[in-house]
């Protein structure tokens, strides 16, 4: 839920990166962290297992600049992708302002993408949100790999409501900021309604 503090002239929003295990959610955050000036970011917190799989969440605050005299800060979270971390995933969606779904473009991961997308819709509903109304972007990640599904097929299968679709290679940073921008714009546009 967006927080607007008049005393400190700050807007704080929460964006969650969602998707199946190993799709590149943490890699998205890592790239944003590595490419942002030190004064614009806080620490990147990773609650991960010994094998670097996300256990609970990754978190980083990112300050983009000012709009109408208010500093805008985005709190970026990832969820754990592995199926058995369902309870943790649901907790992290609480209070979300915008969602990025990171899909894995590899053929063998299409079923996992579809399952995770349904899981997202269900977990949003648990908190009273509707995917069709919430700021949302779809990222097609790992476009550099050889065994990928054509973009048009992925869009047919995964696009829900005409949301922005961004092709990405998160490991090299391609498409990462475009994705963030696509969802952040929608979140800020929502503020017009206040």
């Amino acid at each position: 839920m967006t927080f607007i503090n008049y005393a400190s002239r700050e807007i704080n929003c929460k964006i969650v990166y969602y998707g199946p295990g190993l799709c590149g959610k943490t890699t998205n955050l890592q790239h944003i962290y590595d490419s942002t000036a030190p004064q614009a970011k806080g620490k990147l917190i990773s609650l991960a297992t010994d094998t670097d799989r996300t256990l609970f969440f990754d978190f980083m605050p990112l300050e983009l600049g000012t709009v109408r005299g208010f500093k805008t800060r985005f709190h970026l979270y990832t969820v754990p992708g592995q199926v058995f971390y369902e309870a943790s995933r649901r907790l992290i969606l609480k209070g979300v302002d915008g969602v990025v779904f990171v899909a894995d473009s590899q053929e063998e991961r299409m079923d996992a993408n579809i399952e995770s997308l349904y899981n997202l819709e269900e977990n949003l509903r648990c908190h009273g949100y509707d995917l069709m109304k919430i700021p949302y972007a779809l990222q097609l990640n790992k476009r550099d790999l050889p065994n990928i599904v054509p973009t048009s097929d992925m869009v047919t299968e995964l696009q829900r409501k005409g949301e922005p679709v961004i092709e990405a290679v998160a490991s090299s940073g391609s498409g990462v900021f475009d994705t963030l921008k696509a969802v952040a714009k929608q979140v800020l546009t929502e503020l017009r309604k206040t």
Partner: protein, 162 residues
Amino acid sequence: MAEGPILIREQRYHEIKAVLARLRMDSYARVVVLVEKDGQQIAVHGELGDLDTTSLASLAAGNVAATGGMAKLIGEDEFPTLSHEGKRESIHISVIGRILLVVVFDERSSLGLVKLRSKQVSHELSAVFAAIERESSESDPDGSLPFGEITDEDIESLFSQT
């Protein structure tokens, strides 16, 4: 979105800061942070040094959410307080409705004192946050919200600043 934004006006912010300052003094704490249950920091007071209170707020909320999940598994609603005692620094978290009161303290204080003082201010903080929620749900009565006028250019320029 399920709910609109939370608007913290200056007067409420200063009311909260005053309560946090008093709590910090009475409990001999190092830092006191008020956090919304979703992880957003509302206000902070104390000897911050290089303490990253944004991350602290996010992790405290994650901690409460995880233990709340465990509470439900064993048939409890939630655990109203959490304490973590370290060798030198400790943390006490009180769940007050939708807000979390996080107190960081060292050997100058004690867990018993922090618990007592936190409990004593919980009603006050709860009342201020209820007022904030009420005001947030009202439509901008004095027309002071500038966000209705946000243009596409404003948003574009935000991204060109990065």
